[in-house]
């Protein structure tokens, strides 16, 4: 039997990756979903909706925040989690600290943020400082969610964001905590405080075989 040889043009129409390719790439980021906000009140990732995967397929999930720009000035970016119902109200205990530095005079600071942590609260968790709504001002960063499908353990998460603060300050904000529930987390919702609209992009990845 003659050997059929393929060239680059032979493969140009492929749209999916063979399982063996990603299966042999432990630790690889696998892009799941990109949501783009355009004067949106929220961006929500729900397992099984709009091709979103947020279950036991991956042990770790990573969200990337790219230039999230609030419509109103002086607004914090925030997250909440769904733990079985339809509401984003999982009970959370978290830490929040930050470093900041001013554009003009310097005068930096480094502090735990007692006003922005949670102790067994179902409220939204703040994960940035108050972003400006100037045309070039935004929040960028990332958040990791560990093993959301576990029905044994609470669900840990960690985020780091850099904010262009409303009064021209660079804020480096660290949040970590856990949803104190053993129910699976199957939805994650991102908003700005007071329900304000915003623009920008959030990407969801699974970390394969991590």
């Amino acid at each position: 039997m003659s050997l059929i040889k393929y060239n680059d043009r032979s493969l140009r129409n492929l749209t999916t990756t063979p399982a063996a390719v990603t299966g042999n790439s432990p630790g690889a980021l696998v892009h799941i979903k990109t949501l783009t906000a355009s004067s949106s009140a929220s961006l929500t990732f729900v397992h099984g909706s709009s091709d979103v995967v947020l279950d036991s397929t991956y042990p770790i999930y990573k969200f990337e925040f790219i230039n999230l720009n609030p419509a109103s000035d002086d607004k914090k970016f925030q997250v909440n989690f769904r733990d079985g119902g339809t509401n984003y109200d999982a009970t959370k205990t978290t830490t929040n600290f930050f470093a900041f530095n001013r554009e003009g005079s310097g005068d930096p600071g480094f502090s735990y943020s007692t006003g922005n942590d949670l102790a067994q609260s179902t409220a939204v968790q703040v994960i940035s400082e108050s972003a400006g709504n100037g045309a070039d001002e935004s929040v960028s960063g990332e958040m990791t969610l560990f093993n959301p499908s576990s029905t044994t353990f609470v669900k840990h998460f960690m985020s780091r964001t850099n904010t262009y603060y409303t009064s021209d300050i660079s804020y480096d904000v660290y949040v970590a905590g856990y949803c104190n529930v053993t129910a699976a987390i199957d939805g994650v919702q991102f908003t700005f405080e007071s329900g304000g609209n915003f623009d920008g992009t959030i990407k969801l990845y699974g970390i394969k075989d991590s």
């Binding site: 040889k5 493969l11 790219i66």
Partner: protein
Amino acid sequence: MAIRTAVNRALTAITALPTAAALTDGNLTLLTTATASSSATLDFTSNINSTYNNYLFKFINLHPSADGVELMFQANAVGGSGFNETVTTTFFLALHNEADGTTNLVYEGDHDSAQGTAYTELHGQNSSDADHGCNGSLTLFNPSSTTFVKHFSGRFSGTSSGDFERDDFPAGYFNTTAAIDEISFKFSSGNIDSGTIKMYGVGPKQ
């Protein structure tokens, strides 16, 4: 029609991945590896564009020729000249010495930038001892944007002069709406004796 099944030999003529986005979705795509050899700087002057939203730099055992020096970086905007973009940063660190006598968690006001145009610090007090090096990662968010300032954040672990572990956390933004297409790294004094910096595109192509 019979299914034609490819074997390894059938693919020997393939030289490039298909353009289908799905085949490169999500993974880190290695774009450039820069290896130092008594180098004054390691510069990335290509491949930073709108192909990817975010770019990740990995630092592997950067070793300075001089002792007690800072690893620093700067950017150049498209069409600009020189690595001198306006930058505002924060900088804090945790440290612990090998003798177990000193620990600290502190903001370093002398090592941040406030609308400066000089190279800004990523990791401090790097030691030139033969077995010491600086390692870490730095993410640059959406450098091709012509709307937003360019955020970045990093974390570096290194062995500082005096035999300290230093865990440094720089973050900030280049305060320009011009797209950034070039990045330069150097030590505050002397050369980058040895070491590697790898630059990856993060996620799917835009």
